[in-house]
């Protein structure tokens, strides 16, 4: 079973990526608490930074140039960290840069203490380049030792690091708390997954059943007039972008702007009943889910029925079908008795991958219809750098996707006994 290593690698990659985001999780968290950036106290910032355990080293070990400090994350300000990195990459030693920063701070402090007009102009070091900064402080660059940059050194940080802390959170604390409201990420994802799974499953089942019927209908009499028309209609839904279909339906058919008869569907948005469980909420909102499910399933229905038709017609051109005709069987009997199973067994894996791609489709639908599902959760979490939630969404979704592939493989093996997994 390759599920575990795959998930592990995904988590590792996601973790590395999250450390390289331009967003600052501390300031977005403080923003959410309603604190303004301009009047922000350094101490508060530092405390939050430490609370999120961002001051620890990233991983168990690190290989860095020799002039790097043990742990750069101890520098808690984002702009300072960027400036430190710039100077370090130029080869200056960490102690030297530290001194420069201290000098800069004391100079700025002197400036603000003095009463004259010029003293009010504080130089912001976040706006400076590395060279400009050194000039501003007035240090002699020639005294700085620069030669140690090209020696890689291995630093061991032990288990007191961010990745370890995160793994602990994953296993013992439900993926950690969301920075918006402190709720465990896993419970948020659980609610969202219930929403998403409920309507992707309905969409999946609907499109498979109807798709099989329509595909059969199309393959049974390929040249019929109604079949030709149906094929055109299905092609239309196949090529229409889901988000456009949804937008058009929302814009034209949920308001009375274009005449009273166009106000067919209930307006966008989900009624939230905080006390009730997620499943009852879904049932109570079932009227509002009609349109999203319609949008999703029209597309997947077109996909499935086209696929079924194609594999049926391919199978019908084989020799054993000719033999079956010569036995005197009717076309209906041949399709039902012999062709159907042969044609569709190879498509099972495709069906299951259409289930996985339904998640992608559901993301757009959720954003348009304001459904609190996985897509909207990820969308919102990314915009505020809520990485605990993002990790959780990522891991759970890949788990669901991998499980759906495994189910597909198992079904395939059941329908096609020639396949044996060792």
């Amino acid at each position: 079973m390759l599920v575990v290593p795959t998930l592990f690698i995904i988590s590792l990659i996601a973790f590395i990526l999250s450390k390289n985001t331009p967003q600052d999780p501390v300031s977005s968290m403080l923003n959410l608490k309603g604190m303004d950036q301009e009047v922000l106290d350094d101490e508060v910032y530092k405390k939050t930074y430490q609370e999120l355990s961002l001051d620890l080293a990233n991983f168990y070990l690190s290989v860095v140039p020799q002039n790097y400090p043990d742990n750069l994350n101890k520098v808690y300000k984002l702009e300072d960290r960027v400036l430190y990195k710039k100077l370090l990459s130029k080869g200056y030693r960490f102690e030297f840069i530290d001194d420069a920063f201290e000098k800069f701070d004391s100079r700025n402090y002197d400036l603000s203490k003095s009463n004259d007009q010029q003293g009010l102009i504080k130089v912001q070091r976040s706006k400076l380049d590395a060279e400009e900064f050194l000039q501003e402080v007035g240090v002699d660059k020639k005294n700085a030792s620069k030669s140690r940059f090209y020696y890689p050194t291995l630093r061991w940080h032990g288990t007191h690091n961010q990745y370890h802390e995160w793994l602990k959170k994953v296993f013992f604390n439900g993926f950690g708390a969301s920075i918006t409201d402190g709720i465990k990420a896993i419970s948020k994802v659980k609610k969202a997954l219930t929403w998403t799974l409920s309507f992707t499953l309905i969409d999946f089942i609907l499109s498979i059943i109807l798709g099989l019927l329509l595909g059969y209908y199309l393959a049974y009499k390929p040249e019929g007039k109604s079949q030709k028309l149906l094929r055109q209609v299905l092609y239309l839904f196949y090529a229409v972008p889901v988000f456009w279909l949804a937008t058009v339906l929302v814009v034209y058919f949920t308001t009375a702007d274009y005449g009273t008869w166009t106000n067919i569907f209930p307006s966008v948005g989900i009624n939230i009943y905080p006390e009730k469980s997620t499943l009852t909420q879904i049932v109570l909102n079932s009227e509002k889910l009609i349109l999203p499910i319609l949008c999703l399933s029209l597309h997947s229905l077109a996909y499935v029925s086209r696929m079924v038709e194609k594999s049926l017609t391919d199978e019908l051109s084989k020799d054993y079908v000719l033999y079956a005709y010569s036995k005197g069987l009717s076309k209906r009997q041949i399709i039902k008795g012999e062709v159907f199973k042969n044609a569709l067994t190879p498509s099972i894996t495709l069906f299951m991958s259409s289930f996985a791609s339904a998640f992608s489709g559901s993301l757009v639908i959720e954003v348009i219809f304001n459904i609190p599902g996985m897509g909207r959760l990820l969308f919102n979490a990314l915009s505020i750098a809520d990485w605990n939630v993002v990790f959780c969404v990522l891991i759970i979704l890949s788990l669901v996707t991998i499980i759906s592939y495994i189910i597909g493989d198992i079904l395939y093996a059941i329908f096609n006994p020639r396949i044996k997994y060792t």
Partner: protein, 371 residues
Amino acid sequence: MDSLSTYKSALTNLQKAGLLVFVIVALFHGMIANDKYIVSGSDAGISFFSNVDNTDWGIRAPIPYSAKFMDKNNRSVSPFGNQDIDGWYKRHWIGTDKLGRDVLAGLIYGSFVALQVGLGTILFSLLIGFIMAYLSGYFGDSELRVEKKFLLFLIPLSLLSVFYIIYSKLIFSIVILLFTIAVWSFAIRRTSNNKSKSAGIPFDLIIFRIIDILHSIPGLFLILILLSLFNQKSIWNVVMVIVLLRWPVITRHLRADILKIKQEDFVTSAKALGLSNHRVFIFHILPLAISPVIIVSAFGFATAILMESTLSFLGIGLPLDQVTWGSLIKQARLNFSDWWLALFPGLAIYFIIVLFNSIGERLVKLVKNEQ
């Protein structure tokens, strides 16, 4: 054999015309819709794309608005409604958005964005897809071998070069990368034929593990996460991220064909003649394996445009002031009464997707008939 002309003749006239119109509109978008004079002459001489009012003569674009130009007097005007304009020439043929930007000009500029995204995605994913298919299909797990004792030297060298690639400037990183590859290929060349002393490099295994991992995350979710990593929004970030999702498709199709062709006698004889691996792959295997790739590319073009418009509809990836087909539809969601904002850009996306899908299907039929 498969040449470009057979593919060209496979297209219907309608498809050819559609393609031509799309490419021309996209490439000459600045001449079709522009609020400036294309060519104008005054005392100072002839100038191009100038905004001078006191010109003696000038040629204007058929649509006198550019995509970002805001007509303050005509905000959210309907195509059929009253418009505050002088003369039919200045009319907004399919309306304006809330800021007074002409929708038709937006559509024309959007086609340029779509062409960039489509072509960029196809080219880069072909490049990566070819290299990966070469490694995983042609070499497989045991074709390229390296002597075990060399590994004692090669593995530390590779780790060290990874360190330098991360921590040095871009130009040095590239030099170090090329140097490492050169050392590896030198070592492979020096490896003797004795199979017990050498180890195969498991390209196939590694590449398919990567594809498996990419496959196990729903596409749009992965794109969303990756796009949040970039500092600045730009069209090329979007292209790169879509490429990351598309190359496995090309690699998988190509690999299946390469595995088949590799067994043929002419490949063995080409190798026996002493041709290099690159030569055998590029001149003797690739031409026979190219048709599925062209088909996949035609579908990939449609997919790339669909993804880009979805992303700009969600407001991620592309700069917010960039007008694309997706961003026009996004505005329709915010004001329901502007029906023209929902209709026309969607039709543009729809027709492009249908165009490229039908080209792909046509090519599928062609390849099937040949066999």
